[in-house]
Subunit: 307 residues, 3 copies
């Protein structure tokens, strides 16, 4: 496959074979993710991280990945410090940063920003989240986590719990997983159900089950993917508390699951996973976060060196 | 000439020979500006970028130049994150950062800040814009762009259009160009004419023509240097719209110019150059922005290694 | 002693022998502090600087030290640009950055934050100031300055002047110095006296003298450690002015001191040391600030390479 100079805009741009190629390469990078690649394959390269909205985890994870490969990093972590106040368009900023760097990692509040940027840049653009749109490297590191921590993706039963209506992560990850041979479970309150058009699309390819009760399906799951329920989604704080309380993950619930169940979360978490869960063998969300580095090392190497 | 440890405070500090030496060196750097200098001549050096007001383009351009030469970069991109809130004077901050770095790139809202800083630092200070004062590396990259994109500076007819009253860029660039054998055209509304003292100074050395009508002179120009007209300069928004509308660069106007006319702009642009111009062969403003890297690579090498 | 992977949380965690080992190593680093260690011993390592409140001097000093040793740096310089707004706990952020870096430098407004962080990180945590708590590398560079600029610490008479009540620096430094064979002088207005429990603790080990009058003791001092008196501590601005005015360091006062007296200050200073003092041979506060680099180079090398 052609990787050199390729933009990473949407997880939907990748075939299953391409996803598996990234996973395979990321797996080779794991050994270098905490010590640095001994050959510094990206030495001399500059990665620009343009974060039009703050996201510490994603930004630092990309920067760590770039540095572990020997590249250097420049950019900004928030709008303060950028020229946007002077009224510059995104396309002009991209055209300029294009001449300062070898790859652009873009986080932007507007859906479609990364696609637009990729049209104005000669260097490859990586979408690090564009509003309600895509965050493909998050989906890739999530799939890598399933593969690494739970074994082959095919055959897995994967449940998403929490806010499935607004969660960008759930939408693109469940779409990507539906390209594999999996069963998907969507567990949420009525108010936060997965959008119908996404569910319909997924149902064409894999079995889907929707429920309000995590208890009803916990025994069937190989992977429990928990997401945060945001207060702001509820007009009434009492309503929020009631709903949020139901989806807090308790050890007693986990003990009813499969022996090899793993718990994932895109983080940051608030109350939906209490600290007592952290010590259970099922908890893999910090491991998951750590996989951001090898997955992004693999992606940077693929698009900057083509292999 | 002695370059080692030299401060870059004002374009007025340089002779024509020195400017040509920088241009010559920058030209050699162009080939390394997008891939990095293979010898990493500034390896082990630290460049501090102290930006007391944000300027993404200038900061990232300096950081890219430093990294392309093998140097490392530390600093801040805006006041948030600096000690200024604690009441520290600029001279104290400079004396301290002096011991953390090998060169200081300073952006500051107060005119004269860079000169002051250069008196308190042992390491060389580069002025990256000090309020209404100077921005010498911008002038140098502009002259480099003329030279590279249009040929020898001597003999050129160069027109400045837009806000010539408040534009720091126009003031120092036109002064610098007047050391060469050029003709200068100042095209602006009555309200935004170039200050008399600057015009008088320039007229001592080169022919100057002043006009309100770009149409009257477009056929004579080799270089059209466009600047932004800022809304804030006009008490009446209707007045602004009338003036700004006149100086929008249209393809029909450009088609009347010389075959080899080039269009420059220090960026960011707003409405004065519409996107339809971007695709014309005359448009060189993104090229101009990209030359910030090789010009700054040359300057950093000259002052940090002396050659 | 075991240094590899050790957390640097409180100056109280170190024995006199360990402090002397750091001083000895820092002294060897001085020659590399402005040019970079030729062997780049920390090449391939990543140092994370997480500054939950801005402190330009401390952050840039750590970053310079890391870079001079060949390491790379990522992080944030202020809360803007961090995930804290999304409600993430410090312990979760630490667990994640733990997988992005080889050492974490933490500045946090809450006392005890660094100790907490060290419990959640596998990589070593360096406390770069935690509210009213500790700032151990500041104390270490202060002791290094005494040793380097004034000779062996044992036998010295060291006076602290200014705000001794709220100054974190004075508290931890005076405690650390009391492990040596020194005499300590606390010179302050009634309102800003050193807290009784600290004084009592110190008096167990070394002679202490407390006074309001710097004139009374200036002739006895080898080291005069000046601190800033903050306006905010006084309900009445007139009261502040009266007090602050008394403790301004004048050349006439300094001339009455020992020939080898040195003047230190943690910086930033405001009015307590006027610029006319800067040129006296006694003024060592900029030298002191510069020693932040070799001391932090030594610490990073000890905890990242164990030697």
């Amino acid at each position: 496959m052609m990787w050199l100079n390729r933009d990473i805009v949407s997880i939907g741009d990748f075939s299953v074979d391409e996803i598996m190629e990234i996973i395979d390469k990321a797996n080779k990078m794991v050994q270098y993710a905490s010590s640095g690649h001994p050959e510094r394959p990206l030495s001399g390269k500059i990665v620009a991280t343009l974060f039009y909205e703050p996201s510490t985890r994603t930004r630092l994870s990309f920067e760590s990945a770039a540095m572990r490969m020997g590249a250097r990093v420049l950019g900004f972590g928030s709008l303060e410090g950028s020229s946007v106040a002077k009224g510059e368009t995104l396309s002009d900023t991209i055209r300029i940063v294009n001449s300062y760097s070898d790859a652009i990692v873009l986080r932007h509040p507007a859906e479609g920003a990364a696609r637009l940027a990729s049209e104005f840049a000669d260097v490859p653009v990586i979408n690090a989240g564009d509003g309600a749109g895509q965050h493909p490297t998050q989906a890739l590191l999530d799939i890598f986590t399933v593969w690494k921590e739970s074994g082959p993706v095919n055959g897995k039963s994967i449940g998403f719990v929490g806010d499935l209506k607004y969660g960008r992560t759930v939408h693109s990850l469940s779409k990507a997983l539906s390209m594999f041979d999996v069963s998907l479970y969507f567990i949420s309150p009525e108010e936060l159900k997965i959008p119908k058009h996404i569910k319909k699309d997924i149902e064409k390819r894999v079995p889907v089950r929707e429920t309000k009760n995590l208890e009803d399906v916990i025994e069937e799951l190989d992977v429990l993917y928990v997401t945060r329920i945001q207060k702001e989604r509820f007009p009434d704080i009492e309503e929020y508390k009631k709903v949020a309380g139901i989806y807090v993950i308790r050890p007693s619930l986990i003990s009813r699951g499969k022996k090899n169940l793993i718990i994932m979360h895109p983080l940051p978490r608030v109350d939906e996973i209490p600290p007592e869960i952290d010590h259970l063998p099922q908890a893999r969300y910090f491991k998951q976060a750590s996989y951001g580095v090898p997955v992004r090392m693999a992606i940077l190497d693929l698009i900057l060196r083509g292999e």
